[in-house]
């Protein structure tokens, strides 16, 4: 009886592994070559390793939570997050393709730390700027910016210029898909110097 159960479990395990591999081959193909429906390869802009473009125009996506990624794609598709480049891509991808490619990207190794942080950036990330009501970034985004669930993406290794651009977008209201307006509240209260410091901090952080 135990043997049958064991054999069954093994068979099931193998099946699951095959499915995951099959899924990943689809996700991997979309990431590296694009989709049949015409969405270009993610790697073309986000880099072969998904670590983002050096100028930060295209963010690091490698190792981000799959549900967070899927939510962003859904928001690009609906126009809830406005981005000229990502909107047609998100519209071209089917739900199944989104599931496959976000799973693939989430499983990629996190981007390497880059540059150096500062005392100011470290303080905002780990303690916050409570004099203006801003909590520590790590209180939601996890220790060292490793991310927390689907709502709070990993920040460690993210391009500093991309982080700075998102703050500008939240402040201006051109990005507004943050849950409960949490990032808008932070962006309204941090100075540009604070944002630059904390962006450099996370680009230099290791997951």
């Amino acid at each position: 009886m135990v043997r049958y159960l064991l054999a069954g479990t093994l068979a099931l395990g193998t099946l699951a592994a095959t499915v995951a591999r099959a899924d990943d081959s689809i996700g991997k193909r979309i990431f590296e070559e694009g989709s049949a429906s015409g969405a270009p390869a993610c790697a073309a802009c986000h880099g072969a390793d998904g670590a983002g473009s050096p100028d930060g125009q295209f963010p690091a996506i490698a190792g981000l939570d799959a549900h967070y990624l899927a939510k962003q794609i859904a928001d690009f598709r609906s126009g809830h997050r406005v981005n000229e480049t990502m909107e047609p891509i998100a519209q071209a991808l089917t739900d199944a393709e989104v599931g496959a490619v976000t799973a693939h990207v989430a499983a990629l190794p996190a981007p390497a730390a880059e540059g150096a942080g500062s005392k100011e950036g470290d303080a905002i990330a780990t303690i916050g700027r409570w004099a203006v009501g801003v909590p520590a970034c790590e209180a939601c985004h996890g220790r060292n910016g490793i991310g927390s669930g689907a709502a709070f993406p990993a920040l460690a290794g993210q391009k500093a210029d991309y982080i700075v651009a998102q703050f500008a977008a939240w402040r201006a209201g051109t990005r507004h898909n943050d849950p409960l307006g949490l990032m808008k509240a932070v962006a309204d209260r941090l100075s540009e110097a604070d944002v630059a410091a904390v962006a450099a901090h996370f680009q230099a952080a290791r997951r």
Partner: protein
């Protein structure tokens, strides 16, 4: 409809007061052995379960209810509490020292065991808190002390309405079931608000008025002051009418315990969803 209300609140960008002119605790740790003890105290304060495991019986840390490491005005800051002891407390009808007050936090809010007065945990915490209160006038109630006292709500607090507030404004971090959210290392990223890993039926936060004041001033985290008073009262009623660990003063009988220790500001002994609150350990 709730989304509309939330967005409206957002547009209004209601900023909390940040207690203008509030007392400023020091920032740089002192030098030497005393400074080391202060640092140890801060580490216990911020990660209590990890750094004082013998005395903690749930998933909470001091910093969960005392934001910014016990420094934030309107979040029951330590610098304001320290200078008000010894004081008479109606809770136990006797004069308590600050040591006894801290011991109560462990017994009730941390659902654990009171550290002995001369234990290192107590020495470290008191060193940290004493240092935070550097320059604060003894015996003076400072602005930002405790949690704000909210005016009585227009409508009696309603767990039913509060459930909707919770789903819209709290579940993102605390989980749809209020059990908190854990980080990859197993520690709590966001604290559990009821159930076995939360504060027990003797903690101050189990009183709806206390929770409402805390919530109004400080929640959603990073957007304190943005809920209406009514929403704060309602969601406090919802959270504090869920099951939680037994009151350590339990006499063996819920009705008798309710009579002796609980009053009209809390739900202990009431029947909610077919369960008498406090009837299960």
């Amino acid at each position: 409809m709730r989304t509309v209300v939330t967005l409206a609140a957002l547009v209004a960008t209601v900023l909390p007061a940040f207690a203008e002119g509030a007392f400023q605790p020091p920032t740089a740790f002192p030098e030497g052995p005393f400074g080391e003890m202060v640092a140890k105290g801060e580490a216990i304060f911020t990660e209590t379960g990890k750094n004082a495991p013998a005395y903690v019986g749930n998933g909470l840390s001091c910093r969960n209810c005392h934001l910014d490491r016990g420094r934030l005005a309107d979040s029951a800051p330590m610098w304001a509490a320290f200078v008000l002891y010894p004081q008479y407390r109606a809770k136990n009808k006797s004069v308590n020292t600050f040591t006894q007050r801290l011991q109560d936090c462990f017994r009730f809010s941390m659902n654990g065991k009171a550290p002995e007065a001369d234990s290192e945990v107590m020495v470290a915490l008191q060193s940290y808190i004493y240092w935070l209160a550097t320059g604060a006038p003894v015996g003076k109630k400072l602005p930002g002390q405790g949690y704000p006292v909210l005016p009585k709500p227009a409508q009696a607090p309603s767990p039913e309405r509060g459930k909707l507030v919770f789903a819209a404004d709290c579940a993102l971090c605390h989980g749809a079931d209020g059990q908190g959210t854990k980080a990859a290392d197993g520690s709590y990223q966001f604290p559990p608000l009821w159930g076995p890993q939360s504060y027990n039926w003797g903690a101050g936060m189990h009183r709806v008025n206390t929770a409402a004041g805390f919530i109004k001033a400080n929640m959603p985290f990073g957007r304190g002051g943005s809920l209406t008073d009514q929403d704060a009262w309602d969601v406090a009623a919802y959270i504090d009418s869920r099951p939680r660990p037994q009151d350590p003063r339990f006499t063996g009988d819920v009705a008798a315990t309710r009579e002796k220790y609980h009053n009209d500001t809390d739900y202990y002994g009431e029947t909610v969803d077919g369960q008498v609150l406090g009837s299960k350990p």
